[in-house]
Symmetry: C2
Subunit: 431 residues, 2 copies
């Protein structure tokens, strides 16, 4: 992990997603599913997953068996995490409102849950129960009545769907699960097949085919944002424990060779100690090769002149995860403009948020924290405006409305007002 002056650091961020060949494959798969429905899903299960799928939907007996097969300690931890996630997202809920005016006009905003949401869950090693909770619970808390999960029927080394995933889904309120993965699963959720009714929105992580398929069906349905490689920035002062900082950087680096872990600090002493700790801790990690490559390619220790300069740099980086490993984290919080999740102080290690505390771990990556937010309740609701205009207000304001419409050359707009003024008000409106 190189130590470099912040001034010499150049931010590179453009991520290309998939080749033309990937795109063509995805286009073809979506077309097949739209044409052949379930038959196409079963064909692709044979081709890609090496599995004969008779029944696409997972039955209650399979769910029961899953509960019996998972470890009690895992289930207890999962349930506590689910309760914490639910409690946090409950606080994001909002209600419809109406504004009644003395003139008789009522204006308002209705907030309603989406009707049907699809959750993609990858198979194999990337099948994370925590991700099932983080994607499904906000939908459940938002009041979405139908949450549908799709996940590959099997992948190399596994047989069937991982029971931990099934249990996490059940705990998160998912009642409808299909064994289908890849671009074909996204196509089924977007356009429907004989077995799977289409949804209004698709969320959840996936490989490049899944990501490209989500992008392709966007418009027919809504999608969540497509995540880039994960990132952490640790902003630390000389009071930080170097072992904590290094461990947190490595927890990010082990995700993916493309993951980015950076320390920003005004303290050269800390920089050097963290650098040494990273090397030391790296040695015994099971995912050492991934973490080492991530650290070498996308890791850095950036020296800044002051914590204030560090905050400025953080706002430019707009990291997915930000740890404030400083003596007075609250004093910096108000100046942090761009970050997905902010972890304050020595005990708020990133994994606390990844798994347990309650806030969502689906966060804006690649600098999009400048304009995007953690997955939250608002992602699973829609709003409608309501206008109940009174006769009194129409008579009083009809002339102004017509003035604006006519200025824009939209005479039929003006006449929709005029026909009412002539009929209701005797003439052209107020006075």
């Amino acid at each position: 992990m190189k130590i470099i002056g912040a001034a010499d650091f150049k931010l590179e961020r453009e991520v290309e997603m998939g080749t033309a060949e990937h795109q063509e494959t995805v286009r073809r798969i979506i077309g097949d599913v739209r044409q052949d429905g379930d038959a196409a899903l079963k064909r692709y299960a044979r081709q890609f997953d090496g599995v004969e799928v008779d029944e696409l939907r997972v039955g209650p007996e399979e769910l029961e068996a899953a509960y019996k097969s998972v470890d009690a300690g895992f289930l207890a931890a999962l349930r506590q995490a689910a309760a914490n996630i639910r409690a946090f997202h409950e606080k994001q809920k909002r209600t419809s409102w109406f504004d009644l005016q003395p003139s008789g006009t009522m204006l308002g905003q209705i907030i309603r849950p989406l009707r049907r949401v699809g959750l993609y869950v990858p198979g194999g090693k990337a099948a994370y129960p925590s991700s099932v909770l983080m994607n499904a619970i906000p939908a459940q808390v938002a009041g979405v009545p139908e949450i549908v999960m799709v996940t590959p029927p099997a992948t190399a080394g596994t047989h069937g769907i991982d029971p931990h995933i099934l249990v996490a889904a059940a705990e998160a309120g998912v009642r409808e699960i299909y064994r289908v993965g890849g671009a074909q699963a996204i196509a089924a959720l977007a356009y429907g097949t004989e077995s799977i009714r289409p949804v209004d929105k698709i969320v959840g992580p996936g490989n490049v085919y899944v990501a490209l398929a989500k992008r392709a069906v966007y418009g027919a349905v809504d999608i969540d944002s497509i995540a880039g490689p994960s990132e952490i920035v640790v902003l630390a002062d000389e009071t930080a424990n170097p072992a904590y900082a290094a461990a947190d950087l490595l927890s990010q680096a082990e995700h993916d060779e493309l993951a980015s872990a950076m320390l920003v600090t005004p303290s050269r002493a800390l920089a050097e100690r963290v650098q040494a700790e990273v090397l030391r801790q790296l040695e015994t990690l099971p995912r050492k090769s991934i973490a080492a490559k991530s650290v070498a390619d996308y890791g850095a220790i950036l020296l800044v002149d002051s914590l204030a300069d560090g905050v400025e740099l953080v706002n430019k980086l707009a990291p997915e995860h930000l740890e404030l490993l400083v003596a007075e984290p609250l004093e910096l919080l108000g100046a942090i403009e761009n970050a997905g999740a902010i972890f304050l102080g020595a005990y708020s290690s990133e994994p606390v948020g990844d798994y347990f505390a309650g806030p969502n771990h689906v966060l804006p990556t690649s600098g999009t924290a400048r304009f995007s937010s953690p997955l939250n309740i608002d992602d699973f609701v829609k709003k409608s405006s309501v206008i109940s205009y009174s006769k009194q207000d129409l008579l009083a304001n009809g002339e102004a409305i017509m003035t604006l419409a006519r200025h824009e050359g939209l005479e039929a707009h003006a006449r929709a007002i005029q026909v009412r003024l002539e009929n209701e008000g005797g003439g052209r409106g107020h006075e």
Copy 2:
């Protein structure tokens, strides 16, 4: 306008956006602006707008002149509309919150305005002051400190920027205006040039080049949804005034030959009277040819068996605008699941909302009201999660967090907890 049974109506909704040639043009323009900056903007102004642009930024003297040139009645109407829009959007504002737990943990959600937002305003006949208000005021109310407007330097038949647009921008709190239009303006907002600093989000309507450019820069910046042709559904019972219904349908139809205006009613008598009224009112409309083509191609009167069936059809259509021209509109409101803006009763003609009442006229089109919302304050803010975990909670829950991390094969995540438990707690946390 054909009267047809709802059962015989087939919903066609797929909209292709732009040809490969359009896309190639846009790709080239964006590349040019990224490479040549201001020089490219001025070159395209010459080529596309036929204008030599010396100074890209609009100066204060031009704004002053604009105020002097607009009609007093227009200005008064515009100001009242702006006040109403501001008042409605103020009610959408939310504050950051923190949840302090007895264990010493603090969780929260910070809500902050975006720093810099770009607003595209088309030139020529599509330069709508109302659209400037509807896009800029929510950003202003959200607290966005920098709102930047771009608009073509001129188009056929106009010289310079329409003063009404300048005045609307000033009323809506826009302090930075550049004379640049088309895909090149979108590229400048996304990537910046010598004169124009990049923004975090781009909103506002535009032609196919603008829409394709917005889609192309998405990721580098955020964009609003790309609007399809405008739509209205009027759900009416036998008590509706046929002249009102017809006028409202035509106000939508005059927008665009692709606009869609539909009446849904269980009353054949009303259907026939509205059909006759549409023909009668169409005769004297200045934009008769546009409205007539819209009505012929995308207009319909759909007969349903009951108002309840009408509501069900409306939910499938998920219209941008919905009027409830019925005796008891409030009784239907609770069953309407999908609609951008809902207008209740005889006095809530759609133009009341388009121009004046306060709710936004930027609404989800093409059935996307199933999952999208009117433009609102949430579109101009971002959230950050905050986790300040206490030592007590880390010691109590560390074991559970490690269980979940290790189950997912992420040992470095577990060790980030473990290093703290070993250092702070004496051992592995709670027994």
